[in-house]
């Protein structure tokens, strides 16, 4: 199982902060496509960075069961 974390505006849009995907492995890009379809939200990840296990990752990073993927919308700390 892959755990996906959503934050800020994406979390509100999806109505949840965490999504479980019952897949042994997926690319980050495949997870994005899955969620865009699930939430009927084609531009869901525009401007968004991805992290796997708390490190920034790319679209072609492979995610395995047990990993935590986080989608990071444009940050605004400080």
């Amino acid at each position: 199982m892959i755990k996906v974390l959503l934050f800020a505006g994406m979390q509100e849009r999806a109505g949840k902060s965490e999504i479980q995907l019952n897949e042994p492995h997926l690319l980050v890009s495949e997870i994005k496509r899955k969620l865009e379809t699930q939430y009927d939200f084609p531009q869901m990840f525009t401007g968004c960075l991805s992290a796997v296990n708390e490190e920034f990752a790319d679209d072609d990073t492979e995610v395995r069961s047990g990993d935590v993927v986080a989608f990071i919308p444009p940050v605004s700390g400080g």
């Binding site: 974390l5 934050f7 800020a8 505006g9 994406m10 509100e12 849009r13 109505g15 949840k16 531009q43 869901m44 525009t46 401007g47 992290a51 708390e54 490190e55 986080a70 990071i72 919308p73 444009p74 940050v75 605004s76 700390g77 400080g78």
Partner: protein, 155 residues
């Protein structure tokens, strides 16, 4: 005592400063980020900060590593607050100590700029008539009801 910390509590400036004080330091520079009332003519009533806490703390310590590599014998501590903050409350405190003053100014400035680039923290501005996640390119207009119009929205 964590040098790089996300907290839900009020930040003590002195506590952050104390983390970087040591006998070989000749300068301590601090940056204090506070909640501003007026932004582009609009009155903020409060801000809500959210973070991906474990990654945010990791990223803050990465900034500390970058500073240690760039400015020799420097020491850095950063605390960022999350949750609801009212006008003039402290959102972030950075302290950098160095042997000489010039480096402490440079490194402190560097730290706040990097926070705005690589640390997963988000702020939502709340006004009397709505709210918006700052930096959110998905929702560039304010939500008319103070929240996005989506089904299953819990709040």
């Amino acid at each position: 005592m964590k040098p790089f910390e996300i907290t839900e509590n009020t930040i003590s400036v002195q506590e952050v400063v104390d983390k970087v004080i040591h006998p070989d330091a000749g300068a301590v520079n601090t940056f204090i980020g506070t909640v501003r009332e007026m932004t582009k003519g609009k009155r903020t009533t409060y801000l809500k900060y959210e973070a991906y806490i474990p990654m945010a703390e990791k990223q803050l310590s990465k900034i500390g590593e970058e500073i240690a590599a760039e400015w020799p014998d420097s020491k850095c501590a950063i605390t960022h607050r999350i949750g609801e903050l009212g006008i003039s409350e402290i959102a972030v405190v950075i302290a950098v100590s160095t042997p000489h003053r010039a480096h402490s100014f440079e490194a402190c400035r560097y730290a706040i700029e990097r926070i705005k680039e690589i640390v997963p923290i988000w702020k939502k501005e709340h006004w009397e008539d709505g709210s918006m996640w700052v930096g959110d390119q998905l929702e560039t207009t304010s939500y008319s009801k103070g929240h996005p119009e989506s089904e299953g929205e819990s709040k």
